[in-house]
Symmetry: C2
Subunit: 199 residues, 2 copies
Amino acid sequence: MLQAATELAAAQGFETCGLREIAARARVSPAMISYYFGDREGFGEALYKRAFERVSARVKLLVDAPGFAERDGLDELVSLHVAALTADPWLPKLIASELLEHGASPLRSRLFRDLTRGPLMAMIGWLEDEQGAGRLRQDVDARWMAISIASLCTFPFLILPIVGEELGLASGPGFAEKLVAQTRHFLADGLRARTEVSR
Amino acid sequence: MLQAATELAAAQGFETCGLREIAARARVSPAMISYYFGDREGFGEALYKRAFERVSARVKLLVDAPGFAERDGLDELVSLHVAALTADPWLPKLIASELLEHGASPLRSRLFRDLTRGPLMAMIGWLEDEQGAGRLRQDVDARWMAISIASLCTFPFLILPIVGEELGLASGPGFAEKLVAQTRHFLADGLRARTEVSR
DNA sequence: GCAATAATCGAACGACCGTTTAATTTCCCG
DNA sequence: CGGGAAATTAAACGGTCGTTCGATTATTGC
């Protein structure tokens, strides 16, 4: 039931798909959703909670993988971000949907508190550590760094299904790797031509 | 009427606000919308057409401003992008809303064709020219450059109203300038600390 | 095996939506 | 001024949505 809802929400967003549709896909009656989750909002909350926990578990898995600490921090951060979004391709859409939603529903508030206080704050803290260690430039606010990194890693997932075809950029399985490579490149050296190579 | 709809759509997105609500704000009866625009889709089309034309006009104004060609191309590109989004703050939301919408409505298709074939293609073409002139690095696909620039300039508008408060970053009038500065910095040199300065 | 309880369903309810219709007002021009 | 066209409206229609209700079926504990 939650699985069916997740699939549907991934494809078209939670707000736009009706409870009847979800119930039909889960092969149950629409009344079951009210029975188990109370109302639509409670159902959505359960859905998002499950999603967030799945992503958290996946991130933890990657961070705890052997050899993680030895590799380059910035590169791994990018990989981690992209990997999390790739594993659950509906996540960017879900986040974006809620970004656009207005009126402070408790669900929405909680999701964003979780996201900002959790991954985002961790990322900023880590960036500041790297700045302190001299591995990242110190003339840029770590919070802005985090926003830029998140932008580079997230926004392409949103627009590529749309503009990718017209641009000749496939959004298939190789996309994530290309995105990681491009973003690493970009983060390291910018886009301008230069004579001296960094580091 | 279109004005009222634009204000409302800017605040909460076109898909989520009812025709009755728009009509009430414009102080007319809901029937007027059907009378003048046929159905909801026709109304949305008119709305988007007006929005796109307004943005186009504004961009043209900036490009035609005196001294534009003399200034640094990449910096101006960023300024232009951010200025277009700042002048109509609902534009990112509008685009994002439509990005998330599914089912190929003619409106949606047209909006994206306009956006990709217009500004995006122009940007890619210009980036390629700059690459050819040696001012931009040539080991990165111009299409990926364009995606990265668009990501850096657009995504912050989406997330800052949400995470800005918690991060202590105000989304007020100074935001656009900060974003431009940060993005220029970033595009030029990346984020890594370096000993040799570019160019 | 049999109550008691949980799970499930089809049908119906009320609310809201976009749209239509029929009637009324406003406007303009001969 | 008057009559026909355009503009505007309130009310109603059909449809979909989330939700509830009464009844039916499955599960469980003893």
